[in-house]
Symmetry: C2
Subunit: 254 residues, 2 copies
DNA sequence: ACGAGCGTTCGACCACGCTGAACGATTATC
DNA sequence: GATAATCGTTCAGCGTGGTCGAACGCTCGT
């Protein structure tokens, strides 16, 4: 599925390796970058100074860093998605009303990416952040998305990424997952019952566009001790479905 | 100030030009990208397919797009700043309390960059977004930052970017700006009185780290009709200074 | 059927990206 | 305070590979 380039450009690949080095390590030196990217020090130096000249990296007193240019590019990518701008205010509202952590995510190259995460109660700092990726089979948003992708596409995603075990409850059998997805289609919402992390429970709904294609999903998550009983089986699903309807209505008139 | 690379890498430069083409135009074709970046179609194709293979761009049905990989990189750059994680919850709180649009920005290569923007009242969609850049001389956050940079650095920034007129009230004379900056230092807050855009008024405060270096600024902005009288001269400045103090205290214990 | 646009592949040339060695500057170690 | 290690940077030179233009199917609109 990873579309192979017929004629990959080697210097681009080292450039990208350098970006990854800058992302992974905090403020690395030229030599660090060179080692991490597997190139000579002089090559790393040339790439870094080119990137600096164009404002993509800055070298502070501690070392090189990705510049805020990437924030601009990231926002551009985020705004390009159909769902983000429309769903965001609804996510904020939902989060205020429920006090839970609300997520918007989309599928990107077979994985889930959080476009936005918001928590009504800001006192707890977000441990996780936007842009983070996760497998689709073990989260509420992921399963909501999978449930509405063409079966062929689902298979190809599972072939590519497998069903890695993230916690005790993670679904690791294809068959189990498929019947779960059928159930999700039927009742209109998904549940992550500590499948991604212990003690974390999450309810999600898909978001479809005018052509009935999934463009993402919305979910609310919280401690398993809080997301229980009526709240888990009725209250949150109903609430989320309402929000989903509002978002889909807003999508119609752009 | 733009540190010249002694030996710039040409293929990196075309790669960056391609990224800019993807950012500027929505879902451009290979030919569009080639024209915009000033290279042959086949060269553009090779770069794009390399980027796609590594997951940095995706080609949807409409054309090529930046992938959400850039959201990840952008978040990484944002988190690297000293101010972001600490100030963000305070910004949210301030926004809820005032109902105004609250901004966190930092200086990056002589310009201001919004790290975060939040508005208590989410019903109005944010017209502007994080990552956006602006000149420092015509915004409340920008002037608060300039007021605490070494004079030499301020001069070099003004040399580089000038004082472009953004609206009726924009300060375009260096002398005027310098006395304004002195005033800001004295009273501890800055005001943008429709200097960036007509009808928009804004109050800002600098945020300093343990070494008394500016690491960014915080501001609250709203319609000129709302931000007036006591609110403009006393209420908001006092409120912002309180928030600033809280942020600086939090910075101490990381 | 036609032509105009697209994205892609190919061959060939010579620019230029890569390496390794050498440079001063800075810090660490004794 | 001398030595040594390591830093970022520059340089020359080799030979790879990035570049372009032409040519290829292909999908459009006419």
């Amino acid at each position: 599925m990873t579309e192979k380039a017929t004629r990959p450009i080697r210097s681009d690949e080292t450039l990208l390796a350098i970006l990854e080095a800058l992302e992974a390590r905090t403020a690395p030196s030229v030599s660090d970058v060179a080692t991490h990217a597997g190139v000579s020090k002089s090559t790393a130096h040339n790439h870094l100074s080119t990137l600096r000249e164009h404002g993509y990296v800055v070298d502070g007193e501690r070392g090189y860093e990705l510049s805020l240019r990437f924030l601009e590019l990231g926002e551009s990518a985020r705004t390009n998605t159909e769902i983000y701008e429309v769903a965001r205010p609804h996510a904020d509202e939902l989060s205020r009303e429920t006090g839970l952590l609300v997520n918007i995510s989309v599928e990107d190259r077979g994985k889930g990416v959080y476009l936005y995460r918001t928590r009504g109660d800001d006192r707890i700092r977000l441990s996780t952040r936007a842009g983070e990726v996760h497998e689709l089979h073990c989260t509420a948003t992921g399963k909501a998305i999978l449930a509405h992708l063409p079966k062929r596409r689902v298979e190809s995603i599972l072939d590519q990424h497998g069903l890695p075990k993230r916690s005790e409850n993670t679904i690791t059998e294809r068959e189990t997952l498929h019947s779960e997805l059928a159930e999700i289609r039927e009742r209109g919402y998904s549940v992550d019952d500590e499948e991604y992390g212990q003690g974390l429970r999450c309810v999600g709904v898909p978001v479809l566009n005018g052509d009935d294609a999934v463009i993402g999903a919305l979910s609310a998550s919280g401690p398993a001790t809080e997301v229980v009983g009526e709240r888990l089986t009725t209250e949150l699903p109903t609430h989320l479905k309402q929000v989903r309807n509002r978002i889909e209505l807003n999508l119609r008139d752009y």
